[in-house]
């Protein structure tokens, strides 16, 4: 395969870059080990930072967040909920920090408004009565899935830019200072392939160090895992931040119909092995209780984690490292057509993409300017199913009796599955339930996919998308993946839910009893029938 630009990684940055290049008339191919947002872009808070989080330790990153946040609110409003945010301190928190806070905000140009504690509690009744100080900032939230999907959809519409899912870059051939060939492997079939491109970009986040090494270049990465917990119901209207230096259990972010509590910071060696742990779930909660005491009785439906791609500036833990981003042109390694972009924030993905596209275009001799600063992101119909509350609203409007709800928790009807298969089906000829989960709310409700996974699979068999035992293998994969996020928060009602799920999947269906794709061919195994 040949292309002008090969982008490795389909997170916010990679997909944002694909769109930026497409707007300049440059076509590209995006390859991704997993699916859209398999990395940090699918494992974050979804907080569109006002910058208020970083004013105390990183004015530069704070300023970047402020500018980019404002731009995205204007240009991609369909992905944003402009809910506002609070920073609150409780009795016992550092009062000097409280006193310095408005000044730091001013220095970064962030609008801040001082509130009386009682006022803050009236705005967000779940706040502790022990709140001693509160500030309002222009925080917002963003749906990273919709964002990445719409970036891809727009790039595709403009230049036919394609996404190759489940395609891992495994090697690069370098000749005379150029990456002449990129080797890939299909992570499902194991099939090897090669891609030739005039320019190669790694937008692989926490994996940037590894990918750069394939071309003989070096990036000093520090991988910091952060775990977040999802509540059953939304607890606040606004983002609520603890007014103290960034730490565990400091932020509660609304995400449509739920709230997301985070986050820990644990240095890990291998971003592929990141998974949320029981200890991190407990730590987040312990830290958050002084700010929001009712979290002690709140039902959590899931935990998940992401790995922050941080650039290690020699020593220091994950918290101390700047949230600014880095663009490596790799000329120090003697390379002229390969670059890496990493670090940064979801909030600053557009700026990262712009700077990277500037470099790539300069190297290609393309002079078209960046347009993502001014051009609104078009809303793509196939991407709206990621929005919490969209499906229920539509259902209430239409109430089509012949359109059964496959996911009852989030009210996702069969027609949604059909339309996603229609619109994005070419991206997944072998539809995993996970791919559908990424593009809708399937599996996100309190049953965490236990029931809808079974119903959607039956639907896919019925509509002819599954035609072999592979569909069962896809079910196993889906339940296994959902469980990773369940395991750390299994207590109270969610523990009960999990017992019911396993009784169904294993007790009744026996899905654990072996790989369905390894079933004997017809007639071969007489024993199975005896």
């Amino acid at each position: 395969m040949r292309t002008d630009v090969l982008i490795i990684g389909a997170g916010a940055t990679g997909t944002g870059l694909a769109r930026d290049l497409a707007l300049r008339g440059v076509s590209c191919v995006v390859v991704e080990t997993g699916d859209v947002n398999s990395g940090a872009s699918g494992g974050n808070h979804g907080l569109l930072h006002s910058g208020g989080r970083y004013v105390s330790n990183d004015t530069e990153a704070a300023r970047e967040c402020r500018e980019e946040g404002a731009l995205i609110k204007r240009l991609a409003p369909q992905c944003v909920e402009d809910c506002g945010g609070l920073f609150v301190a409780v009795a016992g928190d550092d009062e000097r920090f409280v006193a310095d806070y408005p000044g730091w905000c001013a220095a970064a140009g962030i609008e801040v408004c001082c509130l009386e504690p009682a006022e803050a509690r009236a705005m967000e009744p779940v706040l502790s009565p022990k709140v001693i100080a509160a500030f309002a900032v222009p925080d917002a939230t963003i749906d990273p899935f919709r964002l990445a999907l719409e970036n891809m959809a727009h790039a595709h519409a403009l230049t036919g830019c394609t996404l190759l899912r489940r395609t891992r870059v495994t090697g690069m051939d370098v000749d005379a200072g150029r990456v002449v060939r990129v080797h890939t492997v299909n992570t499902v079939s194991g099939e090897a392939g090669t891609i030739e491109a005039a320019q190669v970009v790694s937008a692989t986040g926490a994996w940037a160090g590894r990918v750069a090494a394939l071309a003989g270049a070096h990036i000093p990465m520090l991988c910091s895992q952060g775990t977040l917990l999802v509540t059953h119901e939304r607890m606040t209207r606004r983002v609520v931040n603890r007014l103290r230096p960034p730490g565990n259990g400091d932020i509660l972010v609304p995400g449509g119909t739920v709230s997301i509590l985070g986050t820990t910071s644990v240095t890990v060696d291998d971003p592929d092995r990141a998974r949320p742990t029981v200890a991190e779930a407990d730590e987040n909660l312990r830290q958050a209780l002084p700010m929001i005491p009712s979290l002690a009785y709140t039902r959590f439906v899931r935990a998940y984690c992401g790995v922050r791609p941080l650039i290690s500036a020699g020593g220091g833990d994950g918290r101390a490292v700047s949230r600014g981003f880095m663009l490596y042109d790799h000329t120090d390694a003697g390379l002229s057509n390969f670059c890496s972009v990493t670090g940064g924030k979801l909030t600053t993905f557009r700026l990262m993409a712009e700077k990277t596209a500037d470099l790539v275009c300069a190297r290609l001799g393309v002079t078209a300017p960046c347009r993502t600063r001014t051009e609104p992101l078009p809303a793509a119909p196939a991407c709206r199913w990621t929005e919490p509350g969209f499906a229920p609203r539509l259902w209430a409007q239409r109430h089509d009796a012949d359109d059964p709800l496959l996911c009852e928790c989030e009210m996702v009807p069969a027609s949604a599955v059909d339309s996603i298969m229609n619109d994005c089906g070419q991206q997944f000829p072998d539809p995993g339930l996970q791919a559908l989960g990424k593009r809708s709310r399937i599996g996100k409700g309190s049953c965490q996919g236990a029931f809808c996974g079974v119903r959607v699979a039956a639907h896919l068999y019925d509509t002819g998308h599954y035609t072999s035992p592979r569909g069962l293998a896809r079910m196993r994969e889906f339940f296994t993946e959902r469980f990773k996020g369940q395991r750390p928060i299994l207590w109270g009602p969610q523990l009960i839910q999990a017992e019911l799920a396993e009784a169904l999947h294993c007790g009744l269906l026996g899905l654990e009893l072996g790989d369905p794709e390894a079933a004997p061919a017809a007639g071969k195994d007489e024993e199975a029938r005896s």
């Binding site: 059964p404 569909g471 296994t480 007790g507 079933a519």
Partner: protein, 429 residues
């Protein structure tokens, strides 16, 4: 509060263990009061497993389906010496099942036990289930599967989670010649269709005729026709026989996702017949009270309704189930608790040991082995290791040392331990 209800035995829980216990106790002349929530039994699949699989013992090994459950018991107990089956004579398991089957036959729900072998039956996902005792309405499917007889699996339009194609495609290697059909339920307004609705519709002969007419042109040369479990709520055998007559071939049922019709049938059968046998049954209620002093009777309260009852019982059988049933409680930062009397629970040291990393780990999860330790008469042990009270017994999934989900031994443990506990408190009856 009204005058206290005196009884020989108070049964806490209305799952399979509690219901079976009420059958055993009332047959032996014990007066019984019983309370529990109704969800438990309607969530069961309706097939009764004794032992369907042996979980892996070491990492990397597969779990193994069991063909001959009674033979495999020895193997199970070698690896899992703490399993409740260790307290039972295998003959007692058969005796217990037969008593429950007699009761269910009387209630219009005939079951068939498999002798030395498990039946092999299709699940709604198209996997195979190894089960020892099945409703007679599923039998023609087990037999056709064993013979490889040509069969047609039928899905009903609008019924979610049941795809005939899924069943056929996945069973193809084991069951050649399976075909599929899809039918709209005659007389149903369309849209979503629930198994319970269809089952109630099919109680009426005209509905059966209409369905058979719709099906006849679709099932082709198949000798047997498989449907999701919808063949009537009461006397399903009669409904199945009539459908078979109308179609000119045997019909069978495949269990569906919970709550399915076979589970609801069981619930209705027990709730319908037990009161007639003198069991004071309080549905959707709880029985609570303190553990009395040694030698003293139990003084319990039936709660959950405006009128509370007091129950005075010589003995209590705790069949309160696990987390889903409410017998065990699992809160963050605390050990797992037994929710009625606060009995000690054998369990992993902390929450990180409850579940393994991999959901489908063939070894199963430790949390399912947590539960009550009991003595040889099924009396739960107190903190000191002696029975907590000489009149307190426990049965069913609350007992430690089993992972019923992975071993497929839920019904077997429930019915057989209930049987043993009742016999222990009513010796010679």
């Amino acid at each position: 509060m009204s005058t206290p209800l005196r009884c020989d035995l108070a049964i806490i829980g209305t799952g399979l263990a509690g219901m079976a216990a009420a059958v055993f106790a009332s047959s032996r002349g014990l007066s019984v009061a019983q309370a529990g929530s109704t969800g438990a039994i309607s969530y069961t699949s309706g097939v009764f497993d004794v032992l369907g699989a042996l979980p892996a013992v070491a990492q990397g090994q597969p779990a193994r389906p069991v063909e001959r459950p009674f033979e495999a018991l020895a193997e199970l107990l070698r690896d899992e010496p703490g399993h409740p089956y260790a307290l039972l004579d295998p003959e007692d398991i058969r005796l217990a099942f037969h008593e429950v089957m007699d009761f269910l036959r009387e209630a219009g729900l005939p079951y068939r036990a498999g002798g030395e072998k498990n039946f092999l039956l299709p699940t709604p996902a198209g996997t195979l289930k190894h089960s020892w005792c099945v409703p007679e309405t599923t039998l023609p499917g087990c037999e056709a599967l064993a013979e490889g007889a040509p069969a047609c699996i039928v899905a009903i339009e609008g019924m979610k989670g049941f795809s005939a194609r899924q069943v056929a495609v996945n069973l193809a290697p084991y069951w050649p010649g399976l075909t599929t059909a899809r039918v709209a339920m005659p007389g149903h307004p369309g849209g979503e269709v629930y198994p319970e609705q269809v089952a109630r519709m099919l109680e009426v002969p005209a509905a059966r005729r209409a369905l058979a007419e719709a099906l006849a042109p679709l099932v082709g040369p198949a000798r047997v026709v498989g449907l999701p479990a919808v063949l009537g709520m009461h006397r399903p055998g009669d409904v199945a026989a009539d459908m078979a007559r109308l179609l000119g071939r045997a019909v069978f049922e495949i269990p569906t996702m919970p709550p399915g019709v076979p589970g609801i049938r069981l619930k209705e059968a027990f709730e319908g017949l037990l009161p007639g046998r003198g069991v004071a049954l309080f549905c959707q209620q709880k029985l609570v009270g303190p553990l009395p002093a040694p030698g003293a009777p139990f003084r319990l309260r039936v709660t959950g309704q405006p009128v509370e009852h007091e129950v005075l019982a010589d003995r209590v059988l705790l069949c309160s189930g696990r987390f889903l049933g409410g017998g065990l409680g699992g809160l963050r930062g605390r050990p797992i608790t037994e929710t009625v009397f606060g009995l000690p629970v054998a369990q992993p040291e902390d929450r990180s040991g409850w579940y393994r990393q991999d959901y489908l780990d063939p070894r199963g999860h430790e949390v399912h082995r947590a539960g009550l330790r009991v003595d040889a008469a099924l009396r739960p042990l107190g903190p000191g290791g002696a029975p907590a009270h000489e009149g307190l017994f426990a049965a069913g999934s609350i007992l430690a040392g089993q992972d019923w989900i992975r071993m497929k031994c839920g019904a077997g443990v429930a019915i057989a331990t209930a049987f043993k506990a009742v016999r222990a408190m009513a010796p010679g009856r």
